[in-house]
């Protein structure tokens, strides 16, 4: 299950929701708001998502991960709105019979989520500027197209 939320992510509650007596391992990934990016001092982040397709595409990612690395339980939650330094922007948890599937499924999910889901991140810098991540920078560096 994948969700989008405007409220702080309760990682402990999410972990508990994956409880399964057949699971021998649990792996989670948390993406946090960092204070720096490419030499710029970042003060906060703003996330925007198009929820209908985040859900549809996100469920595909979770299903693909299960196909490749059979797990028992998995959930993903992505924050939107204005986030302060240190806040959790994305949480992914996977419970599986053995650790290998949990680690690999978790890694697969975050990697795919970052490049496939319609979620955008705007950095607000200490100097008052702001910028959408991957947009102008991508074009400026000629790495798109």
């Amino acid at each position: 299950m994948i969700e989008v939320t405007e409220t702080p992510i309760d990682t402990s509650a999410l972990q508990r929701s994956l409880a399964n007596h057949a699971a021998g391992g649990y792996c989670a990934f948390e993406g946090w708001v960092r204070n720096e990016n490419e030499g710029q001092v970042v003060e906060r982040l703003e996330y925007e998502a198009y929820e209908p397709l985040v859900i549809a595409e996100g469920e595909k990612v979770l299903a693909e991960a299960k196909e490749r690395f059979p797990y028992l339980e998995a959930r993903c939650v992505h924050r939107v709105g204005l986030l302060e330094l240190g806040e959790c922007a994305v949480w992914i948890g996977v419970a599986s019979a053995h650790r290998d599937e949990a680690f690999k499924a978790c890694r697969y999910m975050i990697d795919e989520i970052k490049v496939r889901l319609p979620i955008w991140k705007k950095e607000h810098y200490a100097n008052g500027d702001s910028g959408w991540v991957n947009c102008e920078r991508c074009a400026a560096h000629g790495i798109a197209d």
Partner: protein
Amino acid sequence: MKTITVRYFAMFREHAGVAEEPLSLEAETARDVFEFTRDRHGSTEPNGHCKVAINDHMADWDTPVSDGDTVLLFPPVAGG
């Protein structure tokens, strides 16, 4: 001519100054719609890292568009 509703997100919305607009244009594919809006709003973003959806389904730049479709233009994503 087709009437296409275009929805803009993130940077594209800021460039367009609107979140959504109906457009009348000659367009066969999603790429035609992207290029029309790029010219219209002066964006320089290439479509290489962008994504497109038609009527809430992820599509390709070569996907045909029909009269009455809603085309969603997604600038480069950055989740996580």
